[in-house]
């Protein structure tokens, strides 16, 4: 019941967030440049351009344009992309699977590596592998993603020829219209480099986070009790300590998924990955305003949804936590 009230409240907040985002997105569009330049050739006369601008409604006052946008948006119409000539939302949702799969794969890599490595570094802080992991992660944290990506392409595609250098490879269409690259060998081979590059942004941070939390927990009273009680090391580490280590990791993870989505812009551009991030950067270059705004709104929605989910999951994992404001 509380959860339901909470969800409704969240939904209301989400709408306000969307409104603010769309307003900001809309007000910066004038500074993005003139979409007409990308739409017409160089020798088209100014009068001709003016006529087109009029037709597109670009000459209307800001509030008129924004009002028109809102009126369309409530009906799910975010305008038509200048470049794709299709509804902006459709274009973005078409690219969503590619980005989603990339983010999921990167997250799996992050989770799959950071927890064991972080735990290991906490249990054996002085062993040389732990020291190496910590040293490498310091470097990893400071190398920008496009550099990792280009190095990856250079070593594994150009020099060794093991992995493809760009694109998504062969995809299979699932019954509900979702194009997946995860079911073919070729698609998986194409996934490896982009997913690793994208995960490299957060992996070092998560290793450190898991390690730090674990160290903290290992020093706590109840763990000492557990030792004193004579429980086996495995049980102390992996059952009692790890469980509490993961709490903050989940919270932070939820927030960080947003960051991953933001970084898909760079990763997808380097790998020519046909997802939303790449689309967004292209849209900015082409001043495809409807697409830019639709992207901002969709990503805003993803942020809100993910954060809501994290809050809900949190209450399941730790029943002592009350969702803020949900208490009657």
């Amino acid at each position: 019941m509380y959860t339901l009230a909470f969800l409704i409240r969240r939904f209301g907040q989400a709408i306000i967030v969307m409104l603010v985002i769309s307003f900001v997105g809309f007000s910066i569009q004038d500074n993005l440049g003139d979409p007409l330049r990308e739409l017409v050739g160089q020798s088209v006369s100014e009068a001709e351009r003016e006529a087109l601008r009029d037709k597109l409604g670009l000459n209307d006052p800001f509030l008129v344009q924004y009002g028109r946008f809102l009126a369309g948006a409530v009906q799910g119409d975010f305008g038509t992309s200048y470049f794709f000539k299709r509804p902006a939302l459709d274009v973005i949702l078409d690219k969503f699977p590619a980005t989603f799969e990339l983010v999921i794969c990167a997250s799996l890599i992050i989770i799959g590596l950071s927890i064991p490595l972080g735990v290991y570094c906490a249990i054996r802080p002085r062993a040389w592998p732990a020291r190496t992991i910590m040293a490498v992660s310091t470097i990893g944290i400071s190398v920008p993603v496009f550099l990792t990506a280009i190095f990856g392409i250079w070593i594994f595609s150009v020099e060794l020829g093991w992995l493809p250098s760009f694109g998504r490879g062969e995809t299979v269409e699932l019954p509900w219209g979702w194009d997946t690259g995860l079911l073919t060998r070729d698609g998986l081979a194409h996934m490896i480099l982009p997913a690793i590059s994208l995960s490299s942004i957060l992996l070092p941070m998560f290793i450190r986070l898991v390690r730090g939390e674990m160290l903290e927990v290992l020093r706590s009273e109840y763990v000492r009790f557990a030792w004193a009680k004579g429980l086996s090391a495995q049980r102390v580490w992996f059952l009692h300590a790890l469980k509490n280590t993961l709490m903050p990791v989940i919270t932070l993870g939820g927030v960080q998924i947003g960051i991953l989505i933001a970084y898909t812009i760079l990763t997808e551009t380097v790998f020519q990955w046909p997802g939303m991030g790449f689309l967004f950067l292209e849209a900015i270059n082409r001043v495809d305003t409807p697409l830019i705004i639709a992207y901002i709104i969709v990503v805003g929605a993803i942020f809100v949804i993910v954060n809501t989910l994290v809050d809900v999951i949190y209450t399941f994992i730790n029943p002592t936590v009350k969702i803020p404001g949900a208490a009657a």
């Binding site: 500074n31 993005l32 440049g33 003139d34 330049r37 990308e38 739409l39 017409v40 050739g41 160089q42 020798s43 088209v44 006369s45 100014e46 001709e48 087109l52 597109l56 038509t80 200048y82 470049f83 794709f84 000539k85 299709r86 280009i150 392409i153 250079w154 595609s157 150009v158 020829g161 493809p164 250098s165 760009f166 694109g167 551009t269 380097v270 790998f271 020519q272 046909p274 790449f278 689309l279 292209e282 900015i284 270059n285 082409r286 001043v287």
Partner: protein
Amino acid sequence: MKRTILTLATALLALSVATGAGAKTLRMAYDADPVSLDPHEQLSGATLQLSHMVFDPLVRWTQDLDFEGRIAKSWERLDETTMRFHLREGVKFHSGNALTAEDVKWTFQRLKRSPDFKGIFQKFERMEIIDEHTIDIHTDGPFPLVLHNATYIFPMDKDFYTGTDSKGRDKSELKKHGDTFASQNASGTGPFIITSREQGVRIEFDRFDDYWDERSPGNVQKIVFTPIKEAPTRVAALLSGDVDFIAPVPPTDLERVRNNDDTKLVTMTGTRVITFQMNQNRVDAFKNRKVRQAIVHAVNNEGIVEKIMKGFGTPAAQFSPEGYLGHNPDLKPRYDLAKAKQLMKEAGYEDGFSISMMAPNNRYVNDFKIAEAVAAMLAKINIDVDLKTMPKAQYWPEFDERAADMMMIGWHSDTEDSANFYEFLAMTPNPDTGRGQYNSGNYSNEKVDELTEQSLVETDPEKRAEILQRIERIIYEDAGFVPLHWQDLAWASAKGVHIEDVVNVMNFPYLGDLVID
């Protein structure tokens, strides 16, 4: 049983012959893919590249900038205002329809409605059908560029584009950034048919079985086109063997591609000239010819080509590149710092002055670095430059407002003819006629205006060349603008892909004729 095997073997043999023992697939990557399949929607390099794959023009340019008949097999000038074209017979569209004069006329009328293309065809008054395979083009007064502009007439399949489609739209509709039938479907006479297309991701082409040009040596049966926007990724895709042909090649990777054992590089002097304009309305000193000359003398454009462009450009002293009618071989780059200082002194500006400068940072090769270099060079003659660079999307509105004292612009003549440079960049700006639309310097010389107009009605090529070269000379002496260089073009491919035979300075490779070993 034996018989069956024999038949089977024969059938297999026949099949392998039919698809051509050398039937090849070309995987190519450019930096962008075309906005639309409608050849009349946007006048851009990507559109023309696509047009040359899916359609065929009446005539096309050869590598040496001559004309070669395509859909038109021959032509003759009947009088000052009429040119007759004889169309090739037996040409089929992808839909199976046969090409006739009707299709050409229909296409021409559609071009006249296209916001992007109608400027080119302004002087083309009408097209007259003489018989099924003969047309006359009537121009409004004598017009020397009939053939130049005929390279833009890619006949479209009239019957295919007539009627309404399943969504009830008129198939012939031509709309910018609109969801039209023609922007999603195509039927041309060209060597390739589009079999699938996901915009921004990939386009696949198959060779058109009934292609009219049976003498074409091309053996590419299938093309997979992928746009790869990031230059390093594009180069990596070629080097790793994921694609066979890429363009453009960034200057930083030229050596790497050239030295690689499996790849090759093809470069050519391009026809896009990079320039700076000096705004005489904003800066009084720019009205003084000596100051303008001083600036031209102070800019070491040969040095820019060598150091910044890494040799990937040709220093310019005029608009017209070599091969153009107006190219004046006597005009040479004139970097001479001592003379520049002397000229500033003579003009009374020994102590210099301050100006603002703007340039794009993602439009031309190394654009912002070039601007920085020019600013530094001007400092040596005491001109203090406040430089601002920005992405092209923001730059062009600034350019339209003439927002800085010196502004960069690169120009490629749509007609591959010199007069186009003067019309847009050197003639006195006039909003009514549209002349001088991109002359942000407001450079004005009556003689240039007069001669340019004259060149646009002179049909004798020799006399025209004389007029055009005179114009270059006048602008050179006036120092009407700061010429920098012509941007070179570069393509790269795997060895065994003979791109050198099909690329050209217009940068629309004739892929129908491409041979792969």
